[in-house]
């Protein structure tokens, strides 16, 4: 049987930095092939070559046994290769139907939006996703956006389907449903390539696994049944990272209290519904839930950029009416936002500027009329050292840092100075194992310094690993609260149950 997609000796470097070194990979039809590796291992780069976004510096790409030059996504499309990217390729100010119509316009000619809408309805029923074709992309949550992406590619009729970490933002149940669906696609004779770093998915759903590390293939087309989880994770990271056990914290005084708050989205639907949360000093409160159930709106409320319609916002015993971002920050409410380059960092500015910008009014870096550039440099260098921000100097542009280091920079800025409350919204999304561990370590450190932490995350493993108290948000309501240790299944059921 000829392979559906084959790479031989592929090299690719970006501006002199090698991303792929002699990589090879063979995927057959009729199988779910897991491509496993840490962040930066080259998985996405390899698959971006398959879908025509990158061209290899060197090496052979074959589809159905024929050497091909994939010089753009259109070519990839005509070869039947479709990819769901980790970072969504959607036009934010257009609706779901419009986004999908644009992608299929060239292949199927002009199709009326109504027809596309109808087809979206059918496709989403087949897949078991619910999506309103008339919602604008920027009103969708991250997980809803991903559903749109998956439907888009599936509607494109791809027969080699590549998904880049598709379950990263789904719940356990949704993930299982998606993976089952992928499995049935494979059984229908399609090739499914699943980029992932979750071992559980490899064992439960993959027929083959290829492991990449540092741009090279370290294990190719192996049957996952022949490997133990420990062996597989060792292949992936080189050596197993030790997991730290944590002691339970009961928490001190109440620092921040939200009482019966309600808020609406721009389109009038209810985002937060009579929600109450209490944060205590020195405690991590983990808020679990499927994306799009009000987490974003809750985070925006705590950042002061969204005003609540009813309810009480109490900080340090004082009721705040219409708190502004400025007031909240001055009172020590800090944020690690879900979208780093939207609320956390300015990608085109230097590490130094990004580090000092919210500390300027403290006076540490000179008076308003004359900034102390030496103090800024010193402060930034200290932060780089303390937070182990690697591969970046004070003058490096923030966009050039890896995800983990960029997140550490946000942490360094938010944690310096007086902090009483830290909102961490999906702080490890897109980070590799080591960077995740570092972020969790900093959260624990902050806890020791009596900061009250609210961890909002769609990754249940993360919530369970770090939190002292766990709340579950579903359709804008708090549907359950537990003290750690928490039963995974109970939380999972509340996350997906009808609230």
């Amino acid at each position: 049987m000829t392979a559906a997609l084959e790479f031989q000796g592929v090299h690719k470097s970006f501006d002199g930095n090698p991303a792929l070194v002699d990589a090879f990979f063979i995927a057959e039809r009729g199988e779910v092939h897991a491509l496993l590796g840490e962040n930066g291992a080259g998985k996405s780069t390899l698959m971006n070559i398959a879908c025509g976004l990158y061209s290899p510096d060197h090496g052979v790409v074959q589809v159905n046994g024929e050497p091909v030059v994939i010089d753009g996504p259109m070519t990839a499309n005509s070869l039947g290769i479709g990819m769901v990217h980790q970072h969504f390729k959607l036009v934010e100010n257009m609706t779901v139907a419009e986004n999908i119509a644009i992608c299929h316009m060239s292949s199927s000619g002009r199709e009326s939006l109504n027809a596309v809408r109808k087809r979206i309805g059918e496709a989403s029923r087949d897949i078991g996703f619910e999506i309103d074709p008339d919602r604008r992309i920027d009103t969708l949550s991250v997980s809803e956006q991903q559903r749109t992406e998956i439907i888009k590619v599936m509607m494109g009729g791809a027969d080699i389907l590549i998904l880049d970490e598709p379950t990263a933002v789904l719940t356990d149940e949704e993930s299982t449903r998606l993976l089952d669906q992928l499995k049935s696609f494979a059984q229908q004779g399609k090739g499914v390539i699943l980029i992932t770093h979750k071992l559980r998915e490899v064992f439960s759903h993959a027929d083959k696994v290829t492991v990449m590390r540092a741009g090279a293939t370290v294990e190719a087309s192996c049957d996952p049944g022949e490997l133990t989880p420990v062996e597989l994770s060792r292949l992936m990271v080189g050596e197993a990272a030790p997991s730290e056990s944590l002691e339970l914290r009961t928490g001190g005084d109440v620092v921040l209290e939200l009482k019966n708050i309600s808020a609406k989205r721009a389109n009038g639907t209810t985002a937060l519904d009579d929600l109450s949360i209490t944060l205590r000093a020195g405690q991590v409160y983990g808020l679990a839930g499927v994306g799009g159930n009000g987490q974003t709106e809750l985070a925006e409320t705590l950042m002061g950029i969204r005003h609540i319609e009813s309810g009480e916002f109490t900080l340090g015993g004082q009721v705040l009416k219409r708190p502004t971002p400025r007031e909240l920050r001055r009172k020590g409410v800090k944020t690690i936002p879900a979208e780093r380059y939207i609320y956390g960092l300015a990608g085109d500015l230097s590490v130094m500027d990004n580090f000092v910008v919210s500390h300027l009014s403290s006076g540490t870096f000179g008076p308003a009329w004359w900034i102390n550039r030496r103090a800024i440099l010193r402060g930034t260098l200290e932060a780089i050292q303390e937070y182990e921000i690697l591969g970046a100097g004070p003058a490096t542009r923030a966009r050039l840092m890896s995800g983990g280091n960029a997140q550490k920079l946000v942490l360094a800025r938010e944690m310096s100075g007086d902090s009483r409350v830290l909102l961490a919204h999906s702080p490890t999304r897109g980070l590799d194992v080591r960077a995740c561990a570092a972020v969790h370590e900093y959260l624990r450190d902050a806890c020791k310094r009596d900061v009250a932490i609210l961890l909002i995350s769609e990754d249940l493993d993360e919530v369970l690993a770090v939190s002292d108290r766990v709340g579950i948000i579903n359709r804008g309501r708090l549907v359950g609260e537990f003290d750690a240790p928490v039963a995974r299944e109970a939380v999972g059921q509340l996350m997906v149950g009808h609230a």
């Binding site: 090496g59 074959q62 400025r326 939207i342 500015l349």
Partner: protein
């Protein structure tokens, strides 16, 4: 990091690769190369109009930059150019696209002419009052667009552009109406008195406007490079949503930048009216507003480079003037050359962002 690709051959092809970073030296080399490329086209145009290369060299280099009188003329011409360049840079760096510099410049001139025409204030205070009023009028003319933008989210490109025409018609109304010079009945205001004019420093026609320019430069440099406001305002263009989320006053920063921009434009008007023209005329803006946009763009909104670019642009004006006189070439030539150089530099941005490279694609 998207790589586009051009297939020339199946096995070897030119790929376009995104540069992760670019060092200062190649960056400068690319810009200098682009300017030389643009100048090459300009020379070709002149040669095609029967101007020989030797006289191009004489006019553009020897008589403008290598000769004391030439340099002094260039300095006079660059005085308002530096100011409009700084005005544009001040606004552009917070992504406030002030296209209304020309109108703000005109209003600055109206401001100082009000003082001069109605003889407001004692003689020794007349000039300072004219100066202050030109700043005020310039800033006031920038205010409506800024408020519309901040309050109602009305595009400032449109509103500032349209206010140019309103300012121009106000000037026409004044010089054809109440302020028409009774001495010669021409459409301009009566000449300012001697004490209402900027004195000369004693080197050819160079006037004390250059002190104003030095102060304006120092102010803008300080604001951008050394003040707390400078760092905060960098984020306004780099990531406005973050500015709001970390509690910085986005509106205030934008408003201050827009008003400073207007005031600097008004000041440019003051130097033209009080030094060069000596009265309000309806031609005195002479496209300065749009040159300011060009200068700010070419200098990447950096104050020191604004000064350098404005000086070179002044040279272009001076040489263009003599081309007009001695070779009877049209006025539009200066504008055309500006446009060619701007387009070359804009296009060169491609080479700063991408690198061209041959990639191998093996056949089996």
């Amino acid at each position: 990091m998207q790589a586009l690709s051009l297939s020339f051959l199946r096995s070897r092809r030119l790929t376009i690769e995104v540069r992760q970073k670019i060092h200062l030296v190649p960056r400068i080399a690319i810009i200098v190369g682009a300017v030389l490329f643009g100048l090459g086209i300009c020379i070709a145009i002149l040669v095609s109009r029967d101007v020989d290369v030797a006289s191009i060299y004489d006019e553009f280099i020897v008589f403008t930059f290598l000769n004391a009188y030439g340099v002094s003329t260039v300095v006079v011409h660059s005085t308002p150019l530096v100011l409009v360049g700084l005005a544009a840079a001040m606004a552009f760096r917070v992504n406030y696209w002030n296209i209304g510099i020309e109108g703000q410049l005109f209003m600055g001139v109206i401001g100082c002419t009000v003082i001069a025409y109605y003889d407001i204030g004692p003689e020794f205070l007349r000039l300072p009052l004219m100066f202050i009023f030109s700043l005020l009028f310039g800033a006031l003319w920038a205010l409506p667009s800024a408020l519309l933008k901040l309050r109602l989210n009305i595009n400032e490109v449109i509103s500032t552009l349209l206010l140019n025409y309103i300012a121009y018609y106000i000037v026409l109304n004044q010089v054809f109406g109440p302020w028409r010079d009774p001495k010669d009945n021409f459409p301009h205001s009566p000449a300012y008195d001697d004490f209402e004019r900027l004195p000369k420093v004693g080197w050819e026609d160079v006037h004390y406007g250059i002190v104003g320019v030095a102060l304006a430069f120092a102010f803008v440099w300080w604001v951008i490079e050394r003040s707390r406001f400078g760092i905060q305002s960098r984020f306004v263009s780099a990531n406005p949503r973050m500015v709001v989320a970390i509690g910085l006053p986005l509106s205030v920063i934008t408003l201050i930048s827009a008003l400073s921009s207007g005031a600097l434009a008004g000041m440019a008007g003051f130097t033209i009216a009080a030094a060069t023209e000596g009265r309000l005329t309806f031609q005195l803006a002479g496209g300065y507003g749009f040159s300011g946009i060009v200068i700010a763009f070419l200098s990447g909104n950096r104050p020191l480079i604004v000064v350098v670019v404005a000086f070179l642009m002044g040279g272009l004006y001076v040489a263009g003037e003599s081309m007009k006189v001695f070779y009877s070439l049209p006025d539009a030539l200066v504008g055309l050359f500006q446009a060619i150089i701007v387009l070359s530099v804009t296009a060169s941005e491609f080479f700063a962002r991408y690198r061209l490279r041959m990639a191998h694609y093996e056949r089996v």
